[in-house]
Symmetry: D2
Subunit: 342 residues, 4 copies
């Protein structure tokens, strides 16, 4: 069986493992105050082309989201998110567990726009309702779509006009930034949003997310929150070394590009086989719609999620590629699909 189920099925990129090995027996400061972590942070600031930001390394996305959002908000303040948002659906109520409501916005493509935000603000009129304060978006979204620079600018303007924080869940930000439809860079994120994170776990690391805090007022005492929420790793070097290796040269982007290329190769094959897709997805997650019989055949050789029933005869499935996806397996999948089809 070959898995297109997700982008965390494989281990870590071999270069990272080597880097861990080389530094292994050095005695280093704990809790992320070692030299590797310091260097990784300095390097990330360089890549984002901004010195005036704070960066903290985490071991997972849910932990990053819940620590950041609960640190940023006062008790009565709420999050606005798309109904597909990871924090709304797939984090077991982690945000609510810190006391904050998430206001769900129905969207079709996973993306929020300024109209969505204004309507949420409009509906929350007084102290009998929560106060919307932070807008959560994912880039790419959970539906594989990505934000254009123009779209992000509009969101940013809207948030600043209404004193809302704009936060980007970048669990797969590498895939967004390396998408052929992307027109943004890390630098733009640094300018347009209040905080975002750069996902390592789904792009070659063993684990690791780098939270970037851009807005000054959100920086104070942040390490207290990491510790309180259980996210301060004793051997913080583990995170620092990985990000250092990912960004020392362009490894991070090369890995993301490979994942996107593999997704595109799948898309081409699926399109040629005559099938359409649930969403327009220029990233490493695609959602082809296939007849149920075809899906069953494919399930004999491949692992993937059946995402959504379309009608009695067909369903959308989700295929995810990663830095480790093998081209030969993608070609084999396409061929199998072609053959099943016949």
């Amino acid at each position: 069986m070959y898995s297109f189920k997700n982008d965390y099925s494989e281990g870590v990129h071999p270069r990272i493992l080597n880097a861990l090995m080389e530094s292994n027996m050095e005695q280093l400061e704990g809790y992320g105050e070692d030299q590797y972590t310091r260097k990784a942070i300095a390097l990330l600031k360089e890549k984002i082309k901004c010195e005036d930001i704070d960066i903290h390394l985490f071991s997972g996305g849910t932990q990053t989201n819940l620590t950041a959002i609960s640190a940023f908000l006062r008790p009565h303040e709420a999050v606005i998110a798309a109904d597909t948002g990871h924090i709304l659906v797939h984090e077991t109520g982690a945000i609510e567990a810190t006391g904050h409501k998430i206001i769900s916005i129905d969207v079709s493509d996973g993306k929020l726009n300024s109209e969505n935000i204004k309507s949420a603000l409009y509906a929350h009129t007084d102290e009998h309702m929560v106060r919307p304060k932070l807008v959560y978006i994912s880039n790419p979204t959970e539906m594989g779509s990505i934000y254009s620079k123009d779209e992000l600018e509009q969101l940013s303007d809207c948030c600043r006009a209404h004193k809302l924080f704009l936060y980007v869940d970048g669990a797969r930000i590498g895939s967004a930034l390396c998408s052929e439809e992307n027109d943004m860079e890390l630098e733009d994120l640094g300018k347009l949003v209040d905080a975002f994170y750069i996902g390592g776990t789904k792009n070659g690391a063993l684990m690791g997310e780098a939270l970037v805090i851009c807005r000054d007022s959100l920086k104070e005492d942040f390490r207290f929150h990491i510790k309180q929420k259980g996210g301060l790793l004793a051997k913080g070097r583990l995170l620092g070394i990985q990000f250092l290796e990912l960004f020392r040269d362009d490894l991070f982007f090369e890995l993301a590009k490979h994942a996107n290329d593999m997704a595109k190769l799948l898309k081409v094959g699926i399109s040629e086989a005559g099938y359409s897709f649930l969403t327009h997805s220029p990233s490493n997650q695609i959602f082809p719609i296939l007849p149920n019989g075809v899906i069953e055949k494919l399930q004999e050789k491949y692992l993937f999620y059946v995402w959504e029933k379309i009608d009695d005869e067909s369903s959308a499935i989700r295929l995810v590629t990663s830095w480790a996806t093998k081209e030969e397996k993608v070609l084999e999948f396409n061929e199998d699909l072609h053959n099943v089809n016949c």
Copy 2:
């Protein structure tokens, strides 16, 4: 500079790194449902000689403590802990952040006994006060002391008589179990307490704690809590592989024994140099009392914490050894102390 500051200054035991490398390119299930994690859990059950327990792997101690304790308690229930307890002092209010009060008990040696517990129960009489429900102890304690089997049995009896949960923070449990004064085994913990964790981070792992839930009523839906609190690693294999390697043979205990041996070697040297200790500590943390001038001299070559002022001329320092502490460095320290002394 050589560090005796803590037991997480070095990386991971090389055998573990090799094990990570060997399995690295396999495609595995995420979130701790991979075969390595399953095997590690089966192996731990074997070591604890009990099948009727649940085991969950975490990436750090604070996260383990906060997830377990908040899952076990109802909102009005509180924890009883020694005033030196890690959760009371050094976890940034992580337990309170989940809504629970910790009742602090003044103790001199870091250890709780059944009299302490009864007095806490006696002081909490009605619904205007919290209800004490879980007793938290560390073994070894934060002062280096360890519990005897008899002491743990008495605590266990007291907790069962008063319907309290007994929870053991085992961040350094390896050191306790390998202490020359220890008369307990993993198996005894499984029988006497309701939940405990086996610390990997401070005993050779990159990170990793194995929470063992013994009491049936505490097991239900536990994975929901791990996910909600941000502790469910996407690449859970990272934890499974490490525990598998640590317990495949006796590596875990060998590493802990080495740390204890090094601490003992330090103790002998320090005693021979004519100094006494703040506490009786048969584990890998010792607290010698030294003249301030001597401390300053030692600080030129060694890193360690100055723990507590004793009087105007002397202070207790904390020296911690680990699986990676080099015997030659310990001997050098002893010699330096001897020479400083002259």
Copy 3:
């Protein structure tokens, strides 16, 4: 100006004020342990025809909801509620502030049915999502509709089959039980649901809600939760005396019936004037749809909420009657509407 804005614009029924006065200088136990509170609770048990229930008195609905729900649920458990549910919209995230997510179900008439519940259960499959555990309904709903006994039985069966708690927000339960379309009694609530509250604030009391806990497993230590959430009144007599007076004879039901009668009188007048309603409402809240010009005219003499825009020319308004609504004012309103209309 005469107000149809809500049912808490007036003070307290005079008989209650008299009862407060008569007992005023007695020395009584605090915190709800006085004899009046005890008698009130005994009386309510009689009215519900069940001894095997626990009853606690609160000073407001939000406090009742948040205390009960947070006491009943474990951290990963969630509430299912209609999208119009008071806890979802108008309590400033009070439930989320205690750590629990509310799963919103789109409904048109404010009522949940067993299909809604099953679909929510079906969508929550594993530990990456919260576990639905408590079904929250309001009777009457926030849209003025009420549940029939048959509907409640079906909900109750569904909840029991799926191990869900069924909780009824009875802020206006008097109005529901005295509706001409109602076929239930307090006694039925006691049998079919796990907990519900009997609202006094909106039916003649100065303040006061009586929470009834029917399910044994939800009763333990409940007073701790009331105290912890700030709801244990020092002079608890204030609540006990009011409920005693409301239920000593049928005052509670007479007041609710009056409110319903006044709402019905309004409905007849509005219907005769040729207007329709947003929802079918047999309780003390009605939602007539009127031309915007008519609404403006009425606003010169009456206070009420404009509830929802229907189209460019008309809107639904909300009219609420209470125990204190004067028949002459209702007739005047109807006449004014008739005249405006001409």
Copy 4:
């Protein structure tokens, strides 16, 4: 039996009941936006001689404390309190339930000083510990002692120098301000502290506490917090009318003075009978130390708490007087004590 158990055994001062009656049938805005509440707030500002403060009315002390403190603090921030502090002991972990640790300071007389605060700050050095941010004091304290103006000024200076909020629990503030040893006025509180509350429940009201927020940065969106925590009474008039009546003339102070006078009368009698006191208490709570046999005799006619065992033969009891305590009963008590003594 006559009760000296507490100051909430009786109902409400008759003048307040009359005021409630007079306004009872008026239609008023809900949720504290009625004219009576507005007038009460304006009047309180006048008494405090400061316009630049925000005032909110609550129904009880625990609710006031938990709402204010959780609104004022960020998640990692903690409270410093005396070990006798009401929030630490007698509010069922209400503050911890909102996520915040309370740092307990051992004191003998219930009072904190700036040395206590500095030592707490000194002990909290980094992000592994909570950050002390709010100092909670009670005036009078739970031991009956009161702060002098000079003492409060020193605390205030210390807090401002260290960027700490100073918060005063004024459940019995009337008794403090009317103590013969007091040299402060409401006005001084307004200048020296960041927030405090004026307790009505224990001084003649049915219920009611007026929270005064002095520091600008703590005022924003405060009503959201009241609603979220369940403290926003629908018929807010109930609170407004009471405070209006209490402060319309000097009723509030007269009632407090009566309570103090009665306590003093008790003290004189007890001293004359040859007994001493556990603490120096110039307010309405006193703690005489009596032989156990005497206590038993008194318990035949009087209700009070036995506070603390002093030795095998004697205990301290707590006697509390109130606005409603009858002088004849106090004299009777003194006489009974005198007689028992013989």
